[in-house]
Each structure stands twice: as C-alpha cells, then as structure tokens.
C-alpha cells in the first residue's frame, strides 16, 4: 500500500513538478539510449526504475545551498538540483561545455559547480568519504547546508563506505547517505552481495538512523528524506537511507541483462516500474489526467529535441587542451 500523495504535504504544483522531473529523467534517458544505438554517443547507464525515489529524495533538499555527490544513475535528481537536459546532453556527447567534466569523463558522471553537484569518478563509492569532507565543511563554517551522497547496493559494500559512515557518526555530520538498492551489481544478485536483511541496518551499526524506503512510493520516500534532512540541518547528525528500486534496463550499454535475468524476470520488471505506478497514483488521486500527462510528455520531448540539437552543435574539446588544468598553473 502506497502512501497517499496528499500526505506528503506538498502542493499540487509541487507534485506535478515532481512528475515532470520523473518523466524527464525517463525520456531523456530513452533519448540517450537511442543516441548510443546509432553511435552518436558511445555509452549510457541509466536511472530507469529509480526515478520516483530519486526525485522524492532530491526534493527534500534546498538546492541553493545543499551539496550533492551523486552516482551514475542520478540523472533525475541532478535535474531537480538544477542541471538542464542540455547539460546532460553535453556530457553524454562529450562536449567542451559539458558542466560535469568538459568531455573528460564518460557520460553519466554528473557534476556542476553552479549547482553544488560535486564531480564523481567511475571508481565506485569514493564519493562517500569525499562527502564527509564537504559535510565537515558545514560544521567548520557554521553553515546549515546538508550534504547528500548516493551509491548502489553493490558499491555500498566498499570499505570506504563504512569508513565514511563511521566518521560521520563520530562527528554527527549533516550528511545523508543513500543506497539505491536495485538488487543487482551488474550481474551479481543480492544473495551474493550481502547477507543482512536490510542494508539500512548498517546505519545504527555506525551510530546513525537507518531507514529502508520503497523507492516506488513517492510519499514514503519524500517524507523519510524530509525528516532526516531536517534533523541533519538541526545538527542531529547523519542518516542512512536504503531506497529499494528496480533496475529496468541492462546495467549499461555494455551489458545485456537477458544473459543473467530470466525472460520472466525481465517481463516482470514492468510491474515494478515506478513511473507507471506513480502515473496511476497521480490519476487515481486526481492530480493529473492521462491527457495532461500526454501534454507534459510532448513538452518534454520538445525540450529534449532542442537540447539534443543544441548540444550536438557545440564544439568538442580540443586536442591541444589535453594538458589544461592538470595543475593549477596550467
């Protein structure tokens, strides 16, 4: 049973805005797969099936001041934080103006100085310890920003993740750790990844609240984040949230999940598609009609087309700039 949308305390406008973000996440990602298939970009890795929880998560923060250290499936929350579809496109096409890395990192390595989204590498979970520094900065400066960092459930087993949680617990850092648990680390299923029932149990083991939420339940997710963000902002310390989500696609453009997921499994994925469930809820609870959704969809597609065209027209990084910004003095 999903929590009713009105229990969120959000206005209708805000809920509709949330839907737009969720849908934009989906549609933009679909476009990126297309671009990958036709060879315009060489790689994609997507948040399909994570978007509802991701958007709920991001909406619990104040994007003007809070910091975000995402991982590669977090396109939707980066959009909530302020990045534009064009920004994402520039990254996937590896363009000079890509705000994430200026074409230096692979697609889906999100970052934006303008929007307080701190660059992450491909090496999983290093953002967890980096986030402790960002959060400690708030304490030092006596600022009330809260820091958010995310990773996958496979990556959450990296030792550094526990080191970061341990330190955050000790210093009561204003830092929200998130594990987006889609049950797979590429082909490796839950049973081979960890033995505890819930990963959120690791919260208390490191001195903080640990909450598991259903990432398909927008309100459950949003309220859980709202609470821990408020607490963190008040100085009550960090929290760990395990967000249960579904990976609807293969791991990435380099993977084919039909090798290790049965046909049945793959067919069943649709039942857990958070977008479809969210749409049903929006209709059932009278926030939007199917018609209105179609209109939004059309608008978003136009925006995506425009972003694609504009991004494609932008220049590539120049070969002669390869040594730029290796050090501060070059």
């Amino acid at each position: 049973m999903m929590k009713k949308l009105k229990e969120s305390g959000l206005s209708k406008e805000e809920i509709v805005q949330a839907y737009r973000h969720v849908l934009m996440g989906r549609r933009l990602d679909e476009r990126l797969w297309q671009l990958t298939r036709i060879g315009k970009t060489s790689f994609n890795i997507s948040g399909q099936g994570h978007e509802v929880g991701q958007v709920a998560m991001a909406m619990a923060f104040e994007h003007e001041k809070d910091y975000f250290l995402p991982y590669y499936r977090d396109m939707a929350p980066c959009l909530v934080w302020g990045m534009t579809p064009k920004d994402i496109m520039l990254g996937s096409l590896g363009k000079e103006d890509d705000p994430s890395s200026h074409g230096r990192q692979m697609p889906n390595h999100y970052g934006s100085k303008e929007h307080n989204i701190i660059s992450h590498s491909s090496t999983v979970s290093t953002q967890y310890t980096v986030a402790t520094g960002v959060a400690y900065g708030a304490q030092l400066a006596k600022k009330d920003y809260v820091t958010l960092t995310t990773t996958g459930e496979g990556s959450a087993n990296q030792g550094e993740v526990q080191e970061a949680m341990n330190f955050a617990g000790v210093k009561k850092l204003p830092l929200i750790f998130v594990i987006e648990n889609n049950g797979y680390a590429i082909s490796v299923g839950r049973d081979e990844q960890y033995a505890s029932e819930k990963l959120s149990d690791r919260g208390p083991a490191f001195g903080m609240t640990g909450i598991q939420v259903n990432g398909n339940d927008f309100v459950e997710s949003y309220l859980a984040f709202k609470k821990v963000v408020e607490d963190a902002r008040k100085g009550f310390g960090p929290a760990l949230i395990e967000m249960m989500v579904t990976r609807l696609t293969s791991h990435s453009a380099d993977d084919d999940h039909s090798v290790y997921r049965t046909k049945e499994d793959i067919e069943n994925l649709k039942k857990n598609d958070g977008l479809l469930l969210f749409e049903k809820q929006l209709i059932d609870e009278d926030y939007l009609t199917r018609e209105q959704m179609k209109e939004i969809d059309a608008e978003l597609k136009k925006e995506i087309n425009k972003a694609t065209d504009e991004a494609e027209a932008m220049p590539d990084p120049k070969a002669e700039d390869i040594l730029k910004e290796v050090y501060a003095d070059n």
Binding site: G94, G103, S122, G154, Q193, P317, K318, I322
Partner: protein, 328 residues
C-alpha cells in the same frame, strides 16, 4: 593448433589449469554464474568447475586481494580478477603489504601463490577510469611479479605460467587486444616463461621495446620501415617486473639506438626503469639518446574522442619515432 583470440587464449589457459589442478579457484565481480566476466573471459567456468571454484565476490577489491592471499596460505592457487585495472587501486594495500610480502616476511614459511588478473589499456572510450595502465603503481615491489602477454599464443602460455607460479603475479590483459588479435595457438599444455622478455622481430638498425597494444603497432611499423631500408629489432617486455634485464640490455646493445614505447604517461612508466637499466649497463654502446614515446602527462586519457586520440599512441606515431631514430 587452433585459431584463438587473445581473450579465448586466456580463457583456455585458465580452463586447462583449473582442469589440471583442483586447487585453482577463480573469483571477482561478475566472474561467476552465467555472465562470466564483463568481457566474458571466465564464461562457462562456473558451469564447468562448479560455483565453489568460480564465483562472484561482492564489489570489494580489498576483499578480493585478501581472499586470494588467505587462500594462498592454505594451499590454493587463487585467481582474483579486478574488473578493470583501474579498480585494483582499492586493493593496493593488500597487493603491496600482504601478497608481495607473505613469503619474504616469513622467509618462505607462508606463501601466496596468486594470479591477479587486470584488464588494462585505452582506446575503448573508457575515459579516465576505464583506460589506465596501472602497472606502474605496483612496479618495483619486490616479491610481486607483473606480466602481460601481447599475443594470443603468449596469452595462453603466460596465464598458465602465472597460475603455476609460486609467487603472486599481476597479469595484465590489454582490453583492446581481446578481440583484435587472433592467431594459431597450440592446443597442448605449454607455458611461457614468467620472467623472460621476447625478441619478436630481429633487426640491426634500431631497437624498439614495448608491450601490449603499442608493441603490435611497433611490429606493423617495423614492416613499413623495412620497406624503407631499416630493420628494427622489436622486443616484447612481457615480464614487466622483475624485468628480464639480460634480454633488454642485449637488444639495446645490438643496435645502439633504442626506442621505448608505452601507452602510459611519459613519466614514471615502466619504460623509465628500462631506460635507467640501459643507461647504466649499455651507455657506451649507444649511438643516440634513449628515446621514449608515451602518452602525455595528463591523468589518463579523457573521454572525448579528440582527447582520447591525442593521448593514445598510434601506429603512425610509433612509425614516425622509429624512422626518426633510424635516421639519427
């Protein structure tokens, strides 16, 4: 003989060793089950040898390192896979502090005979973190061996040698060569020596030393250069650490003109040590400065195509450098 890619040859070598010795086990991220590795090197091994001997680990490279060391102490021959050579960095402490020293710090009482596999190298649009040559990070850690094959034939024989070796061996596999190279590979049980460089082409005019993708470039460039009247001696380093000094110095002395090629950054690469050895032992046989051809000193290769291309050593760049040296 059978036609095999570089990837198939590695697979075959592992399969043969697992069949030959039941103490050989293999593991890593996505290594087990039906996936059999993100590149498919271990595909089928779990079915063939059981899920106990070929299995997935959680996403934790430090654990892969320690697990392998522990198995070594109780008599197993572990093959630990790092999914990408870039991702052995979280295991550096295990590799240097434990694997490479177990034998030395107990004067042989406890040992860690391990093969760590590490797919490396660029040119796959992998950007900063899926393209690296990390062998320099582990280079110069006595107790550890680092090897890499540059042909399918060597790939099979060398992985078998690594598995049988009583030392911990980091076995680098060039990702670009996986499917690019194909040749006749013996179907019988042979090993390639774990500690020997290999003169893959003889020539009297210049000496080119390298391994991996750039060695293949050098071989092709040598043919072109031959038509121009210069013959290149081409040496595959193969045993990256410890180096086969004898073969390297001999090849350097033979022509007196040495070109060292690596797709790693210029500074701090394996080629620097080779240069130092030659400068120490063959200086008066040299007719020209020891020339290194390498990537620029940027932190690995960026993703965007113009940048990746700028970073990579191409056949053309190798040929130019060889020609220049020949004409010196």
């Amino acid at each position: 003989m059978a036609m095999m890619t570089y990837l198939e040859a590695i697979h075959k070598g592992i399969e043969e060793e697992m069949a030959r010795d039941e103490n050989v086990v293999i593991f890593g991220e996505d290594v087990g089950g039906v996936k059999g590795g993100v590149f498919g090197v271990t595909k089928g091994l779990a079915e063939m040898f059981g899920d106990d001997r070929c299995f997935n680990t959680p996403l934790t490279e430090g654990l892969i390192g320690g697990l392998a060391v522990g198995l070594g102490t109780v008599g197993y021959r572990a093959i630990g896979e790092f999914q990408f050579a870039d991702y052995l960095l979280p295991a550096v402490n295990q590799l240097i502090s434990e694997a490479s020293r177990m034998r030395y710090r107990t004067q042989g009482d406890w040992t860690a005979p391990i093969t760590f596999r590490a797919p490396y190298g660029g040119g796959v649009r992998g950007g900063l973190y899926h393209s690296q040559s990390t062998e320099k990070v582990l280079f110069g850690q006595p107790g550890l061996r680092i090897v890499t094959p540059s042909s399918p034939r060597d790939a099979k024989g060398l992985i078998k040698a690594a598995i049988r070796c009583d030392d911990p061996v980091v076995f680098y596999e060039h990702k670009r060569l996986y499917r690019l190279l194909k040749e006749d590979v013996p179907e019988d049980d042979y090993v390639v020596p774990i500690d020997k460089a290999n003169v893959v082409r003889e020539g009297d005019d210049i000496t080119v030393i390298g391994y991996g993708m750039v060695l293949n470039h050098a071989l092709k460039a040598a043919e072109t250069l031959s038509k121009e009247g210069y013959e290149a001696e081409v040496v595959d380093v193969r045993s990256i650490y410890p180096l086969d000094k004898e073969t390297l110095v001999k090849a350097a002395k033979k022509t007196g003109k040495v070109l060292l090629v690596t797709e790693d950054n210029l500074e701090g690469s394996v080629m620097s040590e080779i240069s130092a050895i030659i400068a120490e032992e063959a200086l008066f046989d040299l007719d020209s400065p020891i020339r290194r051809l390498a990537g620029p000193d940027s932190p690995s290769m960026p993703y965007a195509l113009p940048l990746e291309r700028e970073f990579l050593i191409s056949e053309e760049k190798v040929l130019d450098a060889m020609r220049e040296l020949a004409e010196f």
